[in-house]
Structure formats: C-alpha cells, structure tokens
C-alpha cells in the first residue's frame, strides 16, 4: 500500500471499518511511513478529544416542559367538550392573563437587553478565538497595553494583571460591541482564554452571571464603566477574577 491509498483509508481505520486484508496492508505501510503514522496518531488523538462531554449539551428543562405541554395539548384535541363555565370566571381568567402578559412583557424586555448583549459578547469571544485574532497588542505588561488604546478609543480602559493568582494578561484588542468601539483585555488562566470587554457604562443591564452556548458570561458595573467577561472557565473562578478587578479603580 502507498501513501496515496493509505491516506483516504485512515479515517475508516480509526473507526474500525476496514476488513482484515486492508488492515494488514495498512499496518505494513504504517510501519514504514512516518507521515501516515503521524496522521493516524493525530486522528486517534482527535477522536479522543471529541469524546469530551463539554461538547455535548443537555436539553434545557424549560424545553422539556414546553414539549410535554405541546404533546399533551395535541392529545386533548380529541377529548370531549368541557362543561360550560360561568361567564364571570372567564372574565376573571382573562384579566389575570392580561396582567401576567404585561408583567412578562416588561420583565422580558428588560431581560432581553442583557440576553442580546450576552449573545453579542459570546460571539465576539468565539470570533477572537477562531480567527486567531486574540490580541492586537501582544504584551503581558499592562503598562504597554494600556497606552496602546490611547488614540484608538475615546476612553482609557482599566488594564490589570494578576500573575500571582494565575490570571495572566496576554494582550489587548479593539472590538466592536453594543454599537460602539470597546476594549478587550485578554487573560489566560491555565488553558482557558478569558475576554474582558470594557467601555463607559451605557446600558440598563444589572450585574449578572449567565451562560450562553456553553460559555459563562459575567457582567458588572464598576466606577461608571461596563465590564463583560466571557470564558469557558467555570463560574466560580471567573468570580475570582471579577473580585480581583473590582479591587482596582476603573476610572
């Protein structure tokens, strides 16, 4: 077997989908060929990484409840007609629904600004990882990063570094969120990348911790500055970083 034949078969080989003859021919080739051997090892490593449970999601409880209700609702289509209800009960029920609806509307309109911004922030985080465009200014020195923003932004962001707690500043980047230019400070904690976006406060959103698409999003207001922190790092360690940043003066 030659590399040309071996290459396309490697994927099937790691799935155990080759017959005995193909397997034997391939093994003989791999003994002699470092490149194909390395490719096979890479595929095995990839498959094992893909077993990581963090890549899968559990269906939200809310969805389960919605689907059950939907199925039950369909089931009742054939049910016998209910006996008639006194007219005033219907009116009372309608008023309660109306009250509930307007409360929900007000509640969810306020919620949705947080949700929309959290989604934007997660998108910015993912894009920064994908295009390998994590930093515009690569420096672990906050005295290099902070002045880099001057002239690029109409505010001076708080730049911090906590190497003793293993939250290491990695660099800074200009980003665009919520309709404006913002500063992104990038930290690394163990293998986790954390983006901290900051800009002068201009939202009505309260401090929160949410999760979107498997990422944790922590946002807060500090000295008239908005902070939005995104990472796949767990919430309690993110809270540690937040607490460290909160000890500094953001203005």
């Amino acid at each position: 077997m030659e590399c040309k034949e071996c290459g396309p078969l490697l994927s099937r080989a790691v799935d155990g989908e080759l017959d005995a003859a193909q397997r034997a021919n391939m093994e003989a080739h791999l003994q002699a060929c470092a490149a194909c051997s390395r490719e096979r090892d890479n595929l095995v490593a990839l498959r094992s990484a893909l077993k990581n449970k963090a890549l899968s999601f559990a269906a939200p409880e809310e969805l389960k409840a919605r689907l059950r209700a939907q199925a039950a609702g369909q089931a009742q289509q054939g049910a016998p007609r209910r006996p008639s209800v006194p007219w005033w009960r219907g009116l009372a029920a309608a008023l309660v629904c109306l009250g509930l609806a307007s409360w929900s509307f007000a509640h969810f309109t306020a919620q949705s600004e947080q949700s929309v911004l959290a989604q934007e922030v997660v998108g910015a985080h993912i894009r920064s990882l994908m295009a390998s465009h994590l930093s515009d200014v690569i420096s672990t020195d906050m005295h290099t990063v902070k002045p880099w923003f001057a002239g690029k932004l109409d505010f001076s962001p708080l730049v911090t570094d906590f190497p003793e707690k293993e939250f290491n500043l990695v660099g800074g980047r200009l980003d665009y969120l919520h309709g404006r230019a913002v500063a992104a400070l990038i930290y690394k904690h163990r293998q986790h990348v954390i983006n901290v976006f900051t800009w002068p406060a201009d939202t009505n959103v309260s401090n929160a911790l949410t999760a979107k698409n498997g990422y944790n999003v922590v946002n807060w207001r500090q000295d008239t500055m908005e902070f939005w922190m995104v990472s796949d790092l767990n919430a309690s360690e993110l809270a540690e970083l937040k607490a460290l940043i909160q000890q500094k003066d953001a203005r």
């Binding site: 890479n42 809310e62 689907l67």
Partner: protein
C-alpha cells in the same frame, strides 16, 4: 397501522424524550444559535404528527433525521450561507504536511471553535459520528446521504479539524 393508537403524550415519551439531549446537541451545533430549542420544538411537533408512520426500528435515527431536516429548513429560511451546497474542498483527505504536529493537549475551546468553523455538511457528520456515536449506516440515514459520502465527509472533516488544531498549536508555540 398506528403504533401508539393516537395517544400523543405516550408517543412523546417513547419517541422524542429518550433522544432529547442528542436532538438538542445536534440542533445547537447545526444552527450555532439560541434557536436550537425552537428547532427541536418544531421537530418534536413533526415527529408526533408522523409517528403513526413510524415502524419502530431505530427511534434515535428516526427522530434525529427529523431534527436534522428541521435544522436545514431553518438554515435555508434564515438565508444562511450555510445552506449553500458544499464547495469542492481544496485540501485532499489525508494530506499531512511535513510539519504536522502530534496533538498532545487539545484545547477544548479551540476544538469547539474548529468544529463551529466547519461547513455544515462536515460538522453534521462529526457530531453524529463522534458525539452521538451513530454507526456509519445511521449517520447515512440521519443525514440522508449514501454511506460512501459519510466516509469521505468524515475523512475530510477530521482532516480539517486536525489541520486547524495543529496550525493553532504551531502558532501558540510562537507566542500567539
């Protein structure tokens, strides 16, 4: 002949509920969006509508194929570029550059980002094979493609992921 005799709640519990996490995972990865819940809800509605035609052989593949098709309909409706047919891949399957690195520690978020970057037809076979652990036959059933296409797409998708991750590794060893 109907398997469930018109009792939809019963049908839901047997045909949708056991596969809900898998369905939600598939929808999240295909739509890359918060709309996953809505897509799964739509799929569940369809499944219950068609459950009388279900012969009961492979519930997981049956429901996931409905979810998969609902995702594609959703992507087309959003006029998403994802719904465009897959263009010819410039990278041949099994290509390995002389500098290909062995992946020692694969960063999960890089892996996640690399999967998200894949064209949807490559992403779906990866999710179905690696995360849902479906056989080649079931991947073929769910995706509605021949087994030969499953094999070639898997090979190319994996090749792209390896290439993406080894490229990232060599970048980060040079200070990002």
């Amino acid at each position: 002949m109907s398997t469930f005799g018109g009792n939809r709640t019963d049908a839901f519990e047997r045909v949708v509920l056991p596969h809900l996490d898998a369905a939600y995972t598939l929808a999240r990865w295909l739509t890359r969006n918060d709309d996953a819940s809505d897509v799964v809800q739509e799929a569940s509605l369809r499944a219950l509508k068609f459950v009388d035609g279900y012969r009961g052989e492979n519930g997981r593949a049956w429901f996931l194929s409905i979810v998969r098709n609902t995702c594609y309909t959703w992507l087309k409706a959003k006029n998403s570029a994802e719904a465009e047919p897959l263009l010819e891949d410039a990278l041949p399957a099994g290509a390995s550059s002389p500098e290909a690195l062995v992946m020692k520690e694969i960063d999960i978020q890089l892996l996640r980002a690399a999967i998200e970057e894949l064209p949807v037809e490559f992403r779906e076979v990866i999710i179905l094979r690696e995360l849902q652990e479906l056989s080649y036959e079931d991947v073929a059933r769910v995706a509605g493609i021949p087994i030969g296409t499953v094999m070639s797409r898997l090979a190319r998708a994996r090749g792209r992921l390896v290439e993406r991750l080894t490229r990232q590794n060599s970048r980060s060893s040079h200070g990002m």
